[in-house]
Symmetry: C2
Subunit: 202 residues, 2 copies
Amino acid sequence: MAPVKHKKRAVVLDTSLFVNPEVRESFGRTPTEAIDCFLSLAEQIPTLDFYMPPSIFEELLNFIEPEKISGDMLVVLQQKPPKKYELTCPAFLLYELIEDVRERVNKGLRVAEKAVRGVTKTGEEEIIKDLRRKYREALREGIIDSKEDVDLILLARELDALLVTADQGIIKWAEKLGVKWLIPPKFMDYLLSSIKRAKLLS
Amino acid sequence: MAPVKHKKRAVVLDTSLFVNPEVRESFGRTPTEAIDCFLSLAEQIPTLDFYMPPSIFEELLNFIEPEKISGDMLVVLQQKPPKKYELTCPAFLLYELIEDVRERVNKGLRVAEKAVRGVTKTGEEEIIKDLRRKYREALREGIIDSKEDVDLILLARELDALLVTADQGIIKWAEKLGVKWLIPPKFMDYLLSSIKRAKLLS
């Protein structure tokens, strides 16, 4: 009997996996260590293809010591941008995005008004600091707000990949678009189980 | 020789055509008059189908005296929502939208900071009024920022229609999506020329 052919599965990685201290815990003490650990595991899983959009890789470079990272990285973690001029998205997403932005913009104005009314009571510098924090919270949290976020979502959609991310805004969109996702604390288990299965298959 | 069959063309109308005083000028003194004038012209053009999304029609109802509008309106100006769960849009639009929102959000914060810093010089109420105007300008102008806007764009895309609108944000998106558009001041000429051609064909 001929062996069953297994189609390779794709996995798309966000930086949070390596950068966020609580998240990378099981992989290493520093981002550089976490990447090394990931590479040594990933190499044992011929059944998975790992990807990262170049824009996300750029972000990652700010946190690691590139000269300490093995050249295996280039082979094991493929850098691929999504085909942004070929992919499409359902039109209802535009409605959701625009409604969401609209609500946030209104919240932002209320935050600003509150700040102005507070100036006479508290000092100006104090108020400005507070304003910045609250404004960013109101307008950015839980929303897709960067090209890098769109890169992750679209690349995962294009490759029908599992998207590993801790970002709530990205997860919300993955849900809308039917993209598989996994939170980083589960990723070590996912890799170990994949290694086990890959061995059984070989 | 059999007569050449002419495929009907579709036209999607925004409210600005009837509501905006400078824009409706050639159609009538009031929105209700402008609609009457439009209907009497439209009826003479069997080669054109006129549409308006229901959400836009809702907006229009705030400006007209519904009891004075002829029942012809329901037949001549078809109310049709876009097929928002079937239509798709190119993914690169998401990038443009998100980059645009991001820039505007940053502008909004700068507007808010300036307002806070101005409080000690000017009165609080004065500053709040100014903040609201500038904030809205920074975050809303020239952007698609409502479900109604998306309805117009998508309906025109679905029907391959000519979109008649004065809204710069909508026109910008029509350009991106290859949707034909016309500014309302040209619409009277468009109708008169269509009447002439319809007569030649009959």
